[in-house]
């Protein structure tokens, strides 16, 4: 018996990039395959940043719909599908955190979140819930300052100004640590660019 479909053409076997190309042409079956593969990471990341499950679900829905809506604009030459989707998810989550924060600031005029609480919460969550051994090991390769800064920014949704304040470190140093932290992570993880 010959297979009915050529190898690689079944949505379950296709790369995310291949799926996005099909989705861009309105292929709903391809979208279902992409949903099943990416919704755990999209939701998980948003949940990590936002923490509130209801809000996380709302933002995840927006992002997953946005993937459908704008698949036509994905350009594989500019980066992977995974990065395209995760960038969108992270940006939306962070923007939501910031607008919530702005609303709270208007209410109670407390400009900066409590430093000790903020850092411990994030660090604990990250340590407790990082499933990916490889990423955890890569984070372990960073200096303490690099790791704390990257985690507060990425998982905590903080601006580098907030990170500087929380870690009691000059702005310029934080800016540089975020950048060289990423470079070290990239080298350790061996991520293709």
């Amino acid at each position: 018996m010959r297979p009915l479909r050529a190898v690689g053409s079944s949505p379950a076997q296709m790369s995310l990039e291949g799926l996005l190309t099909r989705i861009a042409k309105g292929d709903q079956a391809a979208y279902v395959a992409l949903y099943d593969r990416t919704s755990p990471v999209v939701y998980g990341l948003i949940r990590r940043v936002l923490r509130d499950p209801a809000q996380s679900e709302e933002v995840a829905q927006e992002v997953l719909l946005e993937v459908w809506r704008t698949a036509t604009r994905f350009d594989a030459e500019r980066g992977s599908a995974n990065a395209w989707i995760m960038t969108m998810a992270h940006r939306r989550a962070v923007d939501r955190v910031r607008s919530e924060q702005a609303a709270r600031d208007r209410d109670d005029k407390v400009g900066v979140r409590d430093a000790s609480v903020g850092f411990d919460e994030v660090a604990e969550e990250v340590q407790a819930r990082l499933e990916h051994q490889q990423v955890r090991r890569a984070l372990d390769q960073l200096t303490d300052l690099q790791r704390e800064a990257v985690q507060l920014a990425y998982y905590g949704g903080r601006t580098y100004r907030e990170v500087a304040e929380l870690l009691d470190t000059p702005l310029g140093t934080v800016k540089t640590r975020l950048r060289d932290g990423l470079i070290r992570l990239r080298d350790t993880l061996g991520v293709r660019s």
């Binding site: 998980g44 809506r69 992270h90 962070v94 990257v150 920014a153 998982y155 903080r158 991520v191």
Partner: protein, 238 residues
Amino acid sequence: MSDNIHLLAGAYALDALTIDERALYERHLSVCEACRLEVAEYAETAAELGVAAAANAPAGLRARVLTEIERTRQVSATPGGPASLSRRVQRVLTPVAAGLVALVIGLSGAVAVLWQDNQRLEATVAEERGLAELVAAGHSVTMTGQIDVPATFVYDPDRDEGVLVATGLSAPAEGMTYQLWVIRDGQPVDAGVFGSDGRLATATASESLHEAEQVAVTMEPAGGVDQPTGEILLSGDL
């Protein structure tokens, strides 16, 4: 920040810039190939951090999303080019940059205050001179319609760039967004979605203005739509 804006690539890739800084840096990205490459690389690394946070999505989400896509139209693909990175994120200019525009086109008091608030970023704004040049190019159209707020569309046909600036535009209704349209041959083309904080709203057209006869604004479901469904709230002839 103005002397070493390239160093912000890491903070940008981690979304650790404020909204103001992000917009300025994206303006820089549109002219700096080195930073674009760097950011693309960091985005891959950051995505790995994101993947490590995987969790089971709530059961009901799948059915809702799959139902939604049935009635969500996809946007048309836009041509690539250096500006498409910022197009992709549908850049909304910041009060800093908008303050500059508004000041130049003379939109009065409240905006002047904003300008002062943000004067510390003046050097960077001046360095990232794009917007000032846009204003200097001198084409501006008053937008009018159902909403009675001062609104201007500033554009430069040569650079094919345009920015909408509206003061006092109320925030869009819950679950809704404003959407900018470029009308060409009588057909509206999606030029990006934007919000408003009730004081000052700005939106950079993500669609080419070539041979466009009009720009218009409608209110649409969050995320925007492929063709306008709402009434025209503001419009102006180019």
